[in-house]
Amino acid sequence: MGKQVKSGRFLFIDQFRGFVGVLMLLGHCSYYFNSIWHTLDPFEPLFSSWWQFALRYAGYLCAPGFLMMAGAMVWWSHKRRIESGTSDRSARWHLIQRGIFLVLAQITWVNSSWGGFKTFNPAHLGIIACIGISVILLTLIINASWIVRLAIAIAILLLHPFLLNISYNTENTFLEVIMQVFVTAGKYNKYPVLPWFALAVLGSVMATGWLEKWKTDRERVIKGGVIAIGAFVLAILVRMGEGYGNISPFSSPGHISFFLDQKYPPSLFMNLWFFGAVVAFVTLFIIIGKLSPRILSIFTIPGKTPLFFYGMHLAILGIFVKRMDLFYREGGIGATLIGFVIMMLIMMPLCKWFYRVKKKSNNYLIKLI
């Protein structure tokens, strides 16, 4: 194995996950401090400047990044448990508990934290619940070979654009909930499971390469790079086709609208594009980790405590900015960046502290966070 493995943890995975968490914090700082959110509709985003677009688009990497890393870690964690003598049934049950915990974390802590715990809003699923459900579903195919998992992911991604054409009666709450949990996006869920589960499965497939089959960093970089370029080319071909796999039209190749197809739920183009982006970034992190490891060290701790980082920064922003109305959506990009720096200064020591607690603790719940 390469140098970037420490006590069974792959540093580039932790660092990339930390990077995604930090990007999410940046996006959330924009959500709380940036006045563009008075008019920015996530379902129909419009941008007044390049910087506002860049700020929003940076956050588009987060959901695919988290789902793929969750898929990778589920596969790796299951494999390690089996290798250490745990039964398959027990290893899967551990993952199912983690998935259930994530769903519960979403409908209790996360949903309420957005508004500073002013209201309890359990009737909504989001990215954390989507990860949780994907983790649970992944346990069903975790023993399948990478080729079978890849085939399942591709089949779901190819099928999803057709499922989006299903029309349903929005006055029928049951149907609406089912559709929004699995296929489309709306008030009950912005992250329908099917397309995001496919990305989690792809994460598990990539993990087979990154963490098992590819033995050196050089091999990871070359093969990861080829896969990323292949995904980008495929995504561009789908987009240029302007038909199947597209949802929003674009002005011209290279224009922001080319890259901004629908996110909620993602089009096939978006899934291919961000799958490529995640693989490209992980590859880049392997390269940077070899050339100049210190550059990425800032992401290591958030990457080792991703759920704590996510839940805690949302709670702080929700309580102090939203509920106590401290500069809530009063500024622009400058205010967002200042808020981001302050939040990083708060979150880094907090994450370090929690990581130490988690390492020492045998508490069931703390281990799950």
């Binding site: 006045s35 929003s248 039209p249 922001i256």
Partner: protein
């Protein structure tokens, strides 16, 4: 070695930013695009940045621009924002190359029940990128109480004008149904309005014995005009009108500033 790595890293970052920046600038040229605003009654094309809240009115914003290349679909969004930058209304337009009407326009109501006075902005987005914007002021609804002493309305009703003398004939408030007969109104308004900066929008309504508007006519006059004359008429031919009590009403910015009743006999 370390320096060269840092320089390479910086070069990559600059390249990424430059590429993304060129993406944002897009390939379409909007330097000749212009936004025009039209109020329901506005007739002055030069003054399209000031409107007034009043009943049954609204504003249409239109972008005058033509794409150099024909696209199968053009994606447009038109946002209307209030003084606090809050979204008032968003319109999405998917204009197809086969569409017969390709106007890029949107309308909002400016009725007192839906709109507050203030500075508003209309923004045009082409494929999610802002390409044109225009601000306008929405003045408060006209209040007659505030301007009671600054307006004097005089309504004269008559049948017609003598061809020989040029004088009005048949002045009064009683008229008779007859072929080719008309009731004409001459409305004279002495104007010394203060604090009004936009053009004056008048409406003359003719009300029939059932209380319905049988005819109305709109007038636009500059606020600088000290004496404003409004002329309007209705036919009182048998068959087109019934006998009974009629009324002529004069409105400024949707608020009645004068009325005069009259009788049409069989």
């Amino acid at each position: 070695m370390k320096n060269s790595r840092n320089i390479s890293f910086a070069v990559i970052v600059v390249l990424i930013i430059t590429t993304l920046n060129s993406c944002m600038s897009g390939s379409d040229d909007f330097s000749n695009a212009s936004v025009s605003l039209h109020g329901t009654y506005s007739e002055d094309p030069e003054n399209d940045t000031m409107f007034r809240i009043m009943d049954n009115t609204g504003i249409t914003a239109q972008l005058d621009w033509a794409s150099e290349e024909v696209k199968e679909v053009e994606l447009w969004h038109i946002d209307w924002l209030d003084e606090d930058g809050e979204l008032v209304y968003r319109k999405r337009l998917n204009i197809h190359s086969t569409d017969s009407a390709k106007e890029i326009k949107s309308y909002i109501s400016t009725e007192p029940s839906t709109r507050m006075p203030g500075v508003y902005t209309v923004e045009f987005y082409y494929f999610r990128e802002k390409v044109a914007t225009k601000q306008f002021t929405l003045e408060p609804a006209f209040s007659l109480e505030q301007h009671q002493d600054e307006l004097q309305t005089d309504i004269i009703l008559y049948r017609g004008t003598s061809r020989k003398t040029g004088k009005r004939v048949g002045e009064g408030t009683e008229f008779t149904l007859r072929k080719k007969r008309k009731v004409r109104s001459l409305i004279t308004i002495k104007n010394s309005l203060n604090g009004i900066n936009d053009e004056l929008l008048f409406k003359v309504k003719w009300i029939d014995p059932q209380g319905k508007t049988c005819y109305h006519k709109d007038f636009v006059h500059p606020v600088t005009e000290l004496e404003i004359i409004l002329k309007s008429y209705i036919s009182i031919e048998p068959g087109s009108r019934e006998p009974g009590d009629y009324r002529v009403e004069v409105y400024l910015f949707g608020v009645m500033i004068g009325e005069q009743g009259f009788v049409v006999n069989p």
